[in-house]
Symmetry: C2
Subunit: 255 residues, 2 copies
C-alpha cells in the first residue's frame, strides 16, 4: 500500500504517522504550506511538495485531508492513473470526487487530533464508504489495520455524525474554555475542575447524559440561575448560560 | 466525630457513605422525603427522620446538603447545642448560618454526584471555610480524611467556582445530551462518540482548551457552519450552535 497524503494538518499528521507505524508506505506529502509539508515529511521520512502538479500519479491510495473549503479545488488539481482517492472529512459527501477519479471513497476517523499529541488509534471509530464494493472492502481492511472499530456509513448519515461531533467535542471544549476563564479571573487554578470534567465524561459511558444531569438548571432553581447571570459580565457567556439552562430544563420536561 | 446529615440527595448520599467508610459515625439522616431518608439511613445503618424537630441536638457536626432554595428555611428549623454546622453548597455564602449557630462553615466537594454511582473521593477537590480558625482546621481535617486535595476558599470566590462548575459539568453534560439526540435520530449508537468525548476531556489536562480547539468554528468555515445550521430543526439547538460558534471564533481572535 503506497500512499500519498494530500494535506499535512492535525488529522493528516496523526493518521499518516499511524499508517506508517502500521507498515503502510507514505510515499509523499503535499501541503499548500511549506512548513507543514516539510515537517510531516521529515517525520515520515518521505519526499514532500507544495506543488499540486508534482503529486505522484502512481500511488495506490490518495488521502485528501484538507479544510472543506479547499478540498474540491485541490481534488480538481490532482492527476492519478488509477489510485483510490479518499477524503477524511465528516461533512463532505463522497461525491466530491465524481468526475475526477474512477475509484473513490471516504475514511473518516471520529476523533479530535492535535499535531503534537499522540493518541491511541485502536478505539477510534472509523467510518468508511466507497463507490464500489471492492474498494469499500479495501478501506475496511486499511482501517482495520489501525482500529478495532470500523463501520460503514453513508455520506448522508456521516454529515449528521459530524454535526454531533462538533457538539460533543468543539462545543464541549469551548465550554471548558469558558469555565477556565471564570476560575482564572478569581485566581483559582483550572486544574481544580479536572476531576469534575473527567467524571462528567466518564458518567456518559454508564448512563444517558440526560439521566446524569445535575445542577441548578435541571432543578430550575431560579434563585441560583439569576445570581449566576448577574455574576457574568460577558454578554455572550450570559446568553450561553440562559440558553443552556432553558434547554436543560426543556429536556427534563420531555422525559 | 458524630454526624447528622440534613438532606439525603445525590451529594448527601455519596458524602455520607464516604464519611462512614472513613470511620466517622453518621448518627442520623433527615430528609423531607421519607423514601430518601429511609433509603440513605438503611445504607448507613442509622436512624432517620422527616421531622425537623426530631433532629438530634448533641451531634458534633451537622451537614446541611440541600437545594439552595430550601437551605435557609431548614437551617432556621434545626436546634443544636454547640455542634459545627456546615453546608455543601457552592453557591451559598457561609453567612446563611449567622444567627442560627455559633460554630459554622462550608465543606464543598467540587464534583457531580449521582446517588447510585460510586466515585473515588481521593482526587475530589474540597473547599472549606469556617467562622473560626479552630473550626477551619476541624474541617480541613475531616476533608483530608476523605480527599488528598483540600483547600481554603472564601464564600465570594466559591460562588464563582460553582458558576465555573455549572459550565464544566452541567452545560458539558447537556452538550452530550444534544449530541446524543443528533446521532439517535440517524440510528447511530451514541457510544461511537465516547472516544471523542474522552479525548476532549483528556486533552484539557495537557493543554489549555483554547489551544486544543478544532473544528469548523475555530477555522470559521462558514460553508460547514451554514450546512450544519440548515441540518438542525430544533430552534434552541440552532441558536446554541450559532452562539457557540461565534464565541469560539471570538476567543480565537482574542489570542
Amino acid at each position: 500500500m503506497r500512499i500519498v497524503f494530500v494535506g499535512a494538518g492535525n488529522l493528516a499528521t496523526r493518521l499518516s504517522l499511524e499508517m506508517h507505524r502500521a507498515g503502510m508506505i507514505v510515499e509523499q506529502v503535499y501541503s499548500h504550506t511549506t512548513e507543514h509539508a516539510k515537517s510531516l515529511a521529515e517525520k515520515l521520512n518521505c519526499p514532500w511538495t507544495t506543488n499540486l502538479t508534482e503529486i505522484k500519479s502512481d500511488a495506490d491510495l490518495y488521502v485528501f485531508s484538507l479544510k472543506d473549503s479547499v478540498l474540491q479545488g485541490v481534488i480538481a488539481g490532482v492527476k492519478s492513473n488509477n489510485g483510490l482517492w479518499v477524503h477524511t472529512a465528516g461533512s463532505m459527501p463522497m461525491s466530491v470526487f465524481e468526475g475526477y477519479a474512477n475509484r473513490f471513497g471516504v475514511l473518516y476517523p471520529l476523533q479530535t487530533f492535535s499535531r503534537e499529541r499522540e493518541i491511541g488509534f485502536k478505539t477510534i471509530p472509523f467510518f468508511v464508504e466507497a463507490n464500489s464494493e471492492k474498494d469499500k472492502n479495501v478501506l475496511q481492511e486499511i482501517a482495520s489495520a489501525l482500529s478495532e472499530d470500523v463501520r460503514y456509513l453513508s455520506s448522508e448519515k456521516r454529515k449528521y455524525l459530524h454535526l454531533a461531533a462538533v457538539f460533543a467535542c468543539n462545543f464541549t471544549n469551548h465550554i471548558y474554555t469558558l469555565a477556565g476563564k471564570i476560575v482564572a479571573e478569581q485566581e483559582i487554578p483550572m486544574n481544580v475542575l479536572y476531576p469534575l470534567i473527567d467524571e462528567t465524561a466518564a458518567k456518559v459511558h454508564e448512563m444517558p447524559p440526560r439521566d446524569a444531569q445535575t445542577g441548578p438548571a435541571i432543578r430550575y432553581d431560579e434563585n441560583v440561575i439569576n445570581k449566576h447571570l448577574a455574576m457574568l459580565n460577558d454578554q455572550d457567556m450570559k446568553t450561553i448560560y440562559q440558553l443552556m439552562s432553558r434547554s436543560i430544563h426543556k429536556e427534563a420536561q420531555n422525559e
